[in-house]
Amino acid sequence: MSVAELKERHVAAMETVNSLRERLKQKRLSLLDTDVAGYARLQGRTPVSFGPTDLVCCRTLQGHTGKVYSLDWTPEKNRIVSASQDGRLIVWNALTSQKTHTIKLPCAWVMTCAFSPTGQSVACGGLDSVCSIFNLNSPMDKDVDLPVSRMLSGHKGYVSSCQYVPDEDTHLITSSGDHTCILWDITTGLRTSVFGGEFQSGHTADVLSVSINGSNSRMFVSGSCDATARLWDTRVASRAVRTFHGHEGDVNTVRFFPDGNRFGTGSDDGTCRLFDIRTGHQLQVYYQQHGDNDVPHVTSIVFSISGRLLFAGYSNGDCYVWDTLLAKVVLNLGSLQNSHEARISCLGLSADGSALCTGSSDTNLKIWAFGGHRRVI
């Protein structure tokens, strides 16, 4: 078969795929008679209302000297790890707002960090294309720095995001600029599976974010610069279970809904979307109209523990709190008193859902929680 012939057939096949995709889209649209907000309105639901003390900044974590890029909570204890442009990871005690560890990274350009499920170690990744694991229990050297305990190297592009597989300290999923996601075995330091890359069903651009299903840790979603999110099964690395189209810009962040059947995405097109992994449908678009043409990108999202609220950070400094049912903005953290002085770059919810942590370009992290006195019923 000659090259020209192959090319021809490829083009023809691509056309078929596109037309099928278009038909699928049409069919979906015809079946999609409502969205979450419309239905909720029909049911007479009203948006959540926030009192002045319902969400206040109660701690400020100062200590970084560069922009904070990423943060993560431990599942059980109130500890936070944050990664910053100053090339350091800091592990915080959220209750006392003190640092417990500062880790100077061999490569200062860190993009992501994660706490292990047991809280024993932290992982980080960045432009060095390596995911580094630090064991918090290993002895510190004289500068109170921790040595790297394991380097997971194998990505051919920057590591954009990493997350431990829930309840497993030994497995970790990373996403990378080389269009792939990788499931790692930390004990051996080897790749267990590679998702995407050479395989056609993978992402066709840099993968920016992963999120693992909390209730079924075999499933995870990834968001990519190809404007899609893909759902993967860790047992089937060869192809994505489902591909979610809809966004018109890079998908910067994905996050599973607490019930594990849905996930949210945030994108450069300024929208957050809610997708259902079982039907593949898009359930809701969260978009706030702005006066000017400049659409702020969504940089980070996180759901409240009930799923009723969606916190979304935008590139213009806003951090909206969406009512996921009614698709209404109920609060803007960016404009609250005591808020950050620069844009909020990352968000994280504590495991029990009682506190939200925001990291910002102003080098600080803030912890937000209920600030008033509870009424006794």
Partner: protein, 976 residues
């Protein structure tokens, strides 16, 4: 000095008993002596007017306030400074206003009002003005009780308010809007329990903001609280919030002010005592004042004496943690709230970023029991570490004078990081004998022997240690104690000799060559020294001489490293030679450019590369063989009749055929290559196949193929360099040379970014090194090589490089006739792809204000290539029409004014192309450097050029005029 001021005032005042605060302070009843104050006030009225003028003149001497605006990049800090300034002025006022309020009577009103006015004018400017006035005339120091309402009305109704608003305006113009707030607040606070309603009117007028100051202290505090948006929960503690900053500001002012600022510090003390005797304040407050007595300004607390500054509970004996800046004390319940996450150690949240109280320097990093109880061990360690290490807590270098010169940052770091530093360095004046390493306080005998030959401070003075013995050591007249020691050590000191003492203890008389002896050579000398409490050299001070000189290896504190580290971003399209430059920089500036592991991996990489090249050759051989056979058959079929006799020997052989053994090897190699695991097999295979490769390489078939290598497109140009020495490389004991490493492909990982820290060695003797250049040797540079992959227009991570000083963009000149697949799969000229990448990076918002240095690389290849292939091969360069005929004739005749070669012409042409492109995109100037990546000197020159650009950038602001001329000449030098 501090103590001096109040007595002056008292003597000035008629009734001294009133004003000798320190003495009279115990008498609250005095406050009711109203009649006495009246005559004083009458005197004061004219005086106050004079003062107003004085203060105006002081307003002109604004620079006094400058240190407050001193460098703080972050706007937050800046705003805090503004507030500081505001509260500074406010506190200046508060004492007087308090005084006035407290001990006034009706007739004081005018004076009071005048004070208000004058203060208002003074406030944004300087503290001194006020102080002068305070001391210079009796005006301020009013005795007597102040019946509040009347005065306030007065000042409200008339030009007191007007002036206040004036101030507010002017301050707003200066950007200190907080001043007026603070000021008014302080006035209110000072007014204490006296009614403040009228005052609020002033506020409204002057600020236009509807601050509801109904009455009393509480309300004003609330206002203050609103103004300061800090995470501060209790309203009551606002005062303690306010004062620390004001104290700091006064300290800052000291930087460039004279001691008169200390007077300022004193004033609140004065007032507070007045307040106390006055009794107008509520009980708590008056009782608290002695607490704030220490000469420094301290946070004011509403609580009882000795209570926590935040919750006002507890007493003197409850355990408390102290802020190392403002001396505020917090109980264990409040300390975490008040100090937050302690990024700079034990400081109130509001004190973060301010220098510490020098008297507490000794306690830095020493943890209290309370913190240990509250926090776990790890947390405490982190706090103590940041307390010691953070920049704000370091000794301010200008406070340390060595040989009469205040130190710079670099010098202080040099001093503190030397192998044998002066212990527990405190602000003060020191002398330092660079030759022997003797160190001491100015006017005193030596205290220590530190590392010698440090380039800190000025030259040592003759009278540095205030000696009077007429015996000199290294130009310093020594003290009697030292002379005694010398005598006891057996040194001849008759006839007032001048000694020259080296760091190893050897001494000689000035002007003589031979060493007279070693001072510390005898055991007895050391004993004598200890008896006389003179220093002896520490054990390792002798061996440290070498280490001092090599700055590169020294560990510099973290905070300082950030200051001196300049980042250079190295970007280039694939094959542009960016990694060659990176490797070259490593070889140039690192003592050990590559670690053992790196060398090992490079070795195997180079070896597998050679196998790959061989594979390509073998593949080519097969192709050529096939072609040869076909041709042969054709020939055979065509030449059957004619020359069949010749064909008998090589019926199915061409010159490209190999023997069966080599054939087997070649098949195996090609198979491994196809399966793509070439790297996996090596280096194990190296040993086995090395002899075979030698045989293969010497085989005539391979030689023949190699001769036709230009026909093998996939074979890179560097391949011939390696293939020529293939047999040597494939030996197991092969060690890659620098040139091998530089030429090799893919030895630096192309996956991620790589960075190398280096500093330019000051070795070059032709660069005349002056003092400034020596500091430059401390400067470090970080070359960051970024993979071109993913450097698209929408690159998400490029903004991480916003702190980079300059971007170096690398383009291979020889790319102009090379083509490769671009992202969309179509074949594009490499030069055009470089250009596209260049455009997208230049247009990236992160690099909006960054300088670009364009490195046109691979000039050696280019020069050679341009003779064969015209530059117009690339569509961007289609208008390149050099005057070839003239050039030819010139180069042939070798004339004296040898005009540039074709290569140089083309280089200038391309440089101008890029410059035009750049200036059309940004409107700025592009720096261009011509480099041959394989030649160390040319890379060195390019990186030094980059350094010059960076340096020039820093100075550009200062010399904008002269810069202009340089600019134009340099620009023209390149534009042909």
């Amino acid at each position: 000095m501090l103590a001096a001021v109040p007595p002056v005032e008292t003597s000035d005042a008629e009734n001294g008993a009133e004003y000798s605060f320190a003495v009279e302070y115990s008498g609250p009843p005095v406050t009711y002596d109203l009649p006495r104050a009246v005559p004083i006030n009458v005197e004061r009225i004219p005086v106050a007017a004079v003062v107003a003028q004085v203060s105006l003149s002081d307003k002109l001497s604004l620079p006094v306030v400058q240190p407050l605006l001193a460098p703080d990049p972050r706007s937050k800090k800046f705003s805090r400074e503004l507030i500081t300034l505001g509260s500074d002025s406010a506190t200046v006022i508060s004492p007087t206003s308090v005084i006035a309020f407290d001990r006034d009577n009706e007739s004081v009103r005018q004076c009071k009002e005048l004070e208000l006015v004058s203060e208002a004018t003074v406030s944004p400017t300087s503290v001194i003005a006020f102080e002068e006035r305070d001391t210079g005339n009796e005006g301020c120091v009013v005795s007597g009780e102040f019946t509040s309402s009347g005065v306030l009305e007065y000042s409200n109704g008339h030009y007191g308010s007007g002036d206040l608003s004036d101030v507010a305006n002017s301050s707003r113009a200066l950007g200190f809007s907080s001043i007026s707030h603070e000021l008014s607040h302080e006035l209110l606070g000072g007014a204490g329990s006296s009614s403040t309603i009228e005052f609020s009117d002033i506020l409204d007028k002057s600020q236009g903001s509807s601050l509801r100051v109904s009455n009393g202290r509480k309300e004003s505090l609330d206002i203050n609280n609103d103004l300061n948006q800090a995470d501060w929960v209790s309203n009551e503690s606002v005062l303690s919030f306010d004062y620390p900053s004001s104290r700091i500001s006064s300290i800052k002012a000291v930087d460039c002010n004279n001691e008169s600022n200390y007077d300022l510090k004193r004033t609140p003390v004065v007032t507070f005592r007045d307040v106390e005797s006055d009794g107008a304040f509520d009980e708590e407050c008056t009782q608290d004042e002695p607490e704030t007595m220490p000469a420094k300004r301290v946070p004011q607390t509403k609580g009882k004496k000795g209570s926590c500054y935040r919750c006002f509970k507890g007493n003197r004996f409850t355990e408390k943690e102290v802020c190392i800046v403002c001396d505020a004390k917090y109980c264990s319940n409040c300390v975490l709230r008040a100090m937050g996450s302690m990024p700079e150690g034990r400081k109130c949240v509001t004190c973060i970023g301010f220098p510490i109280d020098e008297s507490k320097r000794e306690n830095l990093g020493k943890c209290s029991r309370m913190l240990k109880r509250l926090l776990n061990d790890l947390e405490v360690r982190q706090i103590m570490r940041s307390e010691k290490k953070c920049e704000a807590n370091q000794l301010p270098p200008q406070y340390v004078c060595v040989n009469g010169q205040p130190l710079s940052h670099e010098e202080l770091v040099l001093l503190q990081t030397c192998p044998n530093p002066p212990k527990k360095l405190k602000p003060g004046n020191y002398w330092y004998d660079k030759v022997s390493g003797l160190w001491g306080k100015e006017g005193q005998k030596p205290a220590k022997i530190i590392s010698p030959h440090l380039n800190v401070g000025g030259p040592i003075k003759q009278e540095a240690s205030n000696g009077n013995t007429q015996v000199f050591i290294n130009g310093r007249e020594i003290t009697k104690v030292e002379l005694r020691m010398l005598q006891l050590a057996g040194v001849q000191c008759a006839g007032n000799p001048h000694f020259w003492l080296n760091d190893d203890g050897s001494y000689q008389e000035e002007g003589q060559k031979n060493t007279r002896g070693y001072i510390w050579g005898k055991a007895g000398t050391k004993l004598v020294c200890t008896l006389l409490s003179l220093p002896v050299p520490s054990k390792f001070s002798n061996s440290c001489g070498e280490q001092v000189s090599s700055l590169v290896n020294k560990t510099v504190p973290d905070y300082f490293e950030q200051r001196i580290l300049q980042k250079l971003l190295l970007v280039g399209y694939n094959g542009s030679g960016a990694s060659t430059i990176f490797k070259q920089a490593k070889i140039l500036y690192k003592e050990v450019p590559f670690s053992e592991e790196e060398l090992e991996s490079m070795k195997s990489k180079i070896q597998s590369n050679v196998y790959r090249y061989l594979g390509i050759l073998l593949e080519g051989r097969e192709r050529f063989e096939e072609e040869g056979l076909i041709e042969l058959k054709k020939k055979l079929s065509s030449g059957k009749i004619g020359s069949s006799g010749n064909m008998v020997n090589n019926d199915d052989k061409t010159i490209y055929s190999v023997g069966p053994r080599l054939k087997a090897f070649s098949d195996w190699l090609l198979k491994t290559m196809v399966s793509g695991n070439l790297e996996v097999i090596f280096p194990a295979a190296t040993r086995e196949y090395a002899p075979l490769v030698e045989e293969l390489w010497n085989d005539s078939a391979i030689r023949a193929t190699y001769a036709r290598r230009t026909e093998l497109e996939v074979l890179p140009t560097v391949a011939s360099y390696f293939l020529e020495q293939a047999t040597a490389i494939l030996r197991t004991d092969y060690e890659p040379s620098n040139l091998d490493i530089l030429s090799a492909e893919g030895v630096t990982s192309s996956n991620g970014l790589a960075c190398v820290d280096f500093s330019f060695s000051p070795s070059a003797p032709d660069d005349n090194i002056d003092a400034v250049d020596q500091h430059d040797s401390l400067l470090r540079y970080q070359l960051i090589r970024v993979p071109a992959r993913g450097l698209g227009e929408n690159c998400k991570w490029l903004e991480m490089f916003e702190d980079v000083g300059m971007a170096i963009f690398c383009v291979a000149l020889s790319d102009y006739d090379q083509f490769s697949f671009d992202g969309s799969g179509s074949i594009t000229n490499n030069m055009m792809q470089s250009r596209k990448l260049f455009e997208s990076i230049v247009n990236h918002p992160t690099f909006g204000q960054m300088d670009f240095l364009l490195i046109l690389n691979k000039f050696d290849l280019f020069e050679e290539k341009i003779e064969r292939v015209p530059l117009t091969e690339c569509e961007w360069f289609d208008d390149f029409h050099p005057l070839i005929s003239r050039h030819r004739s010139n180069s042939n005749s070798n004339s004296i004014n040898n005009s540039p070669s074709l290569g140089l012409l083309a280089f200038h042409y391309i440089a101008v192309k890029f410059k035009r492109l750049y200036s059309s995109l940004t409107g700025r100037k592009l720096y261009v450097s011509l480099v041959k990546g394989l030649e160390r000197d040319s890379v060195d020159a390019a990186l030094k050029y980059a350094r010059e650009i960076l340096k020039w950038d820093e100075e550009r602001a200062n010399f904008s005029l002269s810069e202009h001329s340089i600019y134009s000449t340099e620009a023209s030098s390149f534009s042909h």
